[in-house]
Amino acid sequence: MPQTFFGGVSFILSKYWSLFLRGTAITLVVSLTGTIFGFLIGLIVALLRTIPVHKTDKPLKKLSVRFLSFILSSYIEIFRGTPMIVQAMVIYYGGLSKALSGLHDVYKGIAAAIIIISINTGAYMAEIIRGGIISVDPGQMEGALSIGMTYRQAMFNVVFPQAIRNIMPSIGNEFVVNIKDSSVLNVISVAELYFMSKSAAGAYLRYFEVFFITAVIYFILTFTVTRILRVIERKMEGKDSYTIHGSQSYSKASIHITSESKSIIGGGLK
């Protein structure tokens, strides 16, 4: 075992690279899958929570909407108001462990991690998505309703696509948070990056070297993911350019407007 810092780091890496690799893979899998399922949970919760109630609706509908909204807001408050590490213990030892007892240990850990992250992320996503929906100009919904779309059609064709574009940074942020916070799941023995690092460090009692490597891996993960999300966000902004067509009778004539030509024209197009 070399005594210098970098010697220690390269020694640990050469000995435990497969451990780090597996831990990284599991961290990525559980945080990505958990974020996706969390998004779906949040989406359903947010859509249910934004259903408008009219005075003329039947009392049964009003009552069930109110009851549902109580249940959903309790879920959101409870899961946003307690730490994920505690939620993991409560859910895992409160039945999840037994429910998954048929699985091999590694898969059991992965499944439990995905379930816990999904439920936890769902509570945050629900509020992010609801915020996104209510931040879209109400005129968009009215415009859609006024041409005869139903509430559902207006929501899915007009409001929701705009909401998603607006909240894309927050959704990405949840993913980054999950990459880091999945580390708390080591308390229920999920073999993610932090858990693996702890085992590696324990073997030679080289905590500094091992966790230096771990920190670098976490940073590379989150930094890369952040860059990728930026690119996706920019893609979602829509194209900058468009083509001005000639008249319908002479449709071959056309001018292509791009952001560069716009600056040449000099702001003639708002």
Binding site: G148, I244, H245, S247, K270
Partner: protein, 254 residues
């Protein structure tokens, strides 16, 4: 040219009958008691000072606001009792907004196509053909591929009018269509509206463009604090109104 044929009260060809309409926001009675009819081919302008309830009236007619009293009949049938037919009713009663409300996530063409496909069940090809025809009519064919954020206010409003026309409505409600526009863009929107009047479109227009109201309306309604104060031909309303309030309003704006 003013058009002086006031419709006789033959309710058989009334598209809309508004009966003792009332709208209350909390304790605030915005529309007190309004009864009126809109007949086929009519252009009815609604004028009056801000807060008179003009926009609220239009929004009630399109059911964007729920009336708290009275009834609205479409071809003699109440639209307030049957919630299921609201969508098909709205498709037949178009609405043009002050803030345009073009769908920001769609191009001008898609704005005109989506309703036809989702609401009227038209095929994409058919919907695009109709959309292009109406975009051409409002002079927006060239900008079919542009997003709302890439065009001017006047262009947005013309595209919004095309979007409404694509649904083949029986009547179009205009809620201050030029109020959010720069002065030089008001003209292009008014000229599109003028061409609709020539085409025989039934229109209900809330407007502050008095010249326009006077020129194209078959009837002008003056609203004041939630009621119809006076309803008559544009000539009468603008030159010899019978009511004192109308006279005060007209003299304050001319």
């Amino acid at each position: 040219m003013s058009n002086n044929n006031i419709n006789t009260n033959n309710s058989s060809n009334a598209i809309l009958d508004i009966i003792n309409l009332e709208k209350r926001f909390g304790n605030n009675l915005v529309i007190r008691d309004i009864s009126m009819s809109v007949f086929e081919g009519e252009v009815v302008s609604i004028i009056g000072s801000s807060g008179a309830g003009k926009s609220t009236l239009l929004r009630c007619i399109n059911l964007l606001e729920e009336p708290t009293g009275g009834d609205i009949l479409f071809h003699g049938k109440s639209i307030l009792t049957d919630r299921k037919s609201v969508s098909s009713y709205r498709a037949k009663v178009g609405m043009v907004f002050q803030q345009f409300n073009l769908f920001n996530n769609m191009t001008v063409l898609q704005n005109c196509v989506v309703g036809q496909m989702k609401v009227l069940g038209r095929s994409r090809a058919e919907a695009e053909e109709t959309a292009k025809m109406y975009l051409d009519r409002v002079g927006m064919y060239a900008f079919a591929d542009a997003l709302p954020r890439q065009i001017s206010g006047g262009q947005k409003q013309r595209a919004a009018i095309a979007r409404t026309l694509c649904m083949n409505p029986e009547v179009i409600l205009f809620d201050e269509p030029t109020s959010a526009l720069d002065p030089e863009m008001v003209g292009e929107v008014l000229s599109v509206m003028r061409s609709l009047v020539k085409g025989g479109m039934t229109m209900l227009v809330v407007t502050h463009e008095m010249g326009f109201a006077r020129e194209v309306s078959s009837r002008v309604i003056f609203m004041d604090s939630g009621i119809i104060e006076e309803s008559d031909t544009p000539d009468v309303i603008f030159t010899s109104p019978k009511k004192e309030r109308t006279r005060a309003f007209i003299s304050s704006i001319l």
